[in-house]
Symmetry: C2
Subunit: 218 residues, 2 copies
């Protein structure tokens, strides 16, 4: 039989999954603004981060209340502590989408992307959204297929980041310093976004087993 | 009278302060390796992060044990949850020092710093070490003078980061793309290091008041 505690924990996890989805939507919108040089989409990305921040506040509060009222132990306790970390990761993912949008805003009306990397950023953006959605799924049902896809997508993200870095650092680079700097920062924001999705999946595994099985990049 | 719980909480805070000090030492060594192009110091920075990771694991374990055995409420509960966040921030500060050291390693035997920014990075490095030490102090005794110095030093760090960014992005920049990219990444690592110190101070205030008074940058 499900206890009151478990119903409250389910509600907490629903909120966490929603936070991941919101972070994914934020990165999707930020990527769209980057690819299409759309200032409105960039502004909207930044404005809507407020929703994520509010949800994080609610989750933190709900987690503290659960700990205080129910004093859970063992895997129940780990699940609540994991929730606090996951909320922090998802909030930060939104923050990174905001960073992407801010670069779009700073460069507007010019594009931050030289034409030869547009396709690459389209792919990087899709990977980021998949990672956020998979993290949401893993939170809700611990789906091992999705958890392993997170690992694969994170590896793909790291490859893309390395390729981007090589492109920018090569002697053939012809777009000057400001474009190079923006691309490297953008690459880092997406890569960190992926790292937080990996960290969330690792936390979900930890909360059930007490062991971590995934190692997020530093 | 101090309870068993409060003695354990004191021990936890001693470990957290030690984590901040270790993160500060890591950034000090990383900065030294950057300023003097010292590969050994860079390698040592990276190797010694293991100590910080181990300590973080111990703190997380001690916090879970405290929650499970003592079921604290109100400000005691907030203090333990804050400890889990602070451990994560301090660990990440060490990770950022590791990133600085990795740039030194990648560029060795060349310097990552054009001569005109060496003095600036020396100052940035000192600020970072002060921030880590002040965070340690705030954890131990909630010293309001140190907490307000953290705010000032973070503002100074943000100024330096902006100045560095302008230098690199200006048409007068003459050191090419790879040097520009490394400087921007280095600037970002130090700035994030400062943000985590600010976040730690904010958590310490939160644990006593239930309100946050400092707002770390995204």
């Amino acid at each position: 039989m499900r206890t009151e505690f478990h119903h409250q924990l389910d509600a907490l996890n629903t909120d966490l999954a929603h936070m991941c989805e919101l972070a994914g939507e934020a990165m999707q919108r930020a990527t769209l603004s980057l690819l299409t040089v759309d200032l409105d989409a960039a502004e909207q990305t930044i404005t809507e981060l407020e929703t994520l921040a509010r949800l994080r506040h609610d989750v933190d509060h709900a987690a503290l209340t659960l700990l205080a009222r129910q004093a859970p132990v063992a895997s129940d306790l780990r699940a609540v502590v994991a929730a606090v970390h996951i909320a922090s990761d998802a909030d930060r993912m939104g923050g990174l989408a905001g960073h992407v949008a801010r670069i779009v805003r700073r460069r507007h009306p010019e594009s931050a992307l030289p034409s030869e990397v547009v396709a690459q950023f389209s792919e990087i953006g899709s990977l980021a959204v998949d990672l956020a959605d998979d993290a949401a799924s893993v939170i809700v049902d611990g789906d091992p297929v999705r958890a392993s896809r997170i690992r694969d997508d994170d590896a793909a993200m790291n490859d893309m980041h390395r390729r981007l870095f090589s492109t920018v650092m090569s002697p053939q680079w012809s777009h000057g310093v400001p474009a190079a700097v923006d691309l490297v920062l953008l690459g880092r924001f997406y890569e960190r976004f992926a790292d937080h999705a990996v960290a969330i999946a690792a936390r979900v595994l930890f909360r059930s087993t007490g062991q971590t099985a995934l190692h997020p990049g530093q």
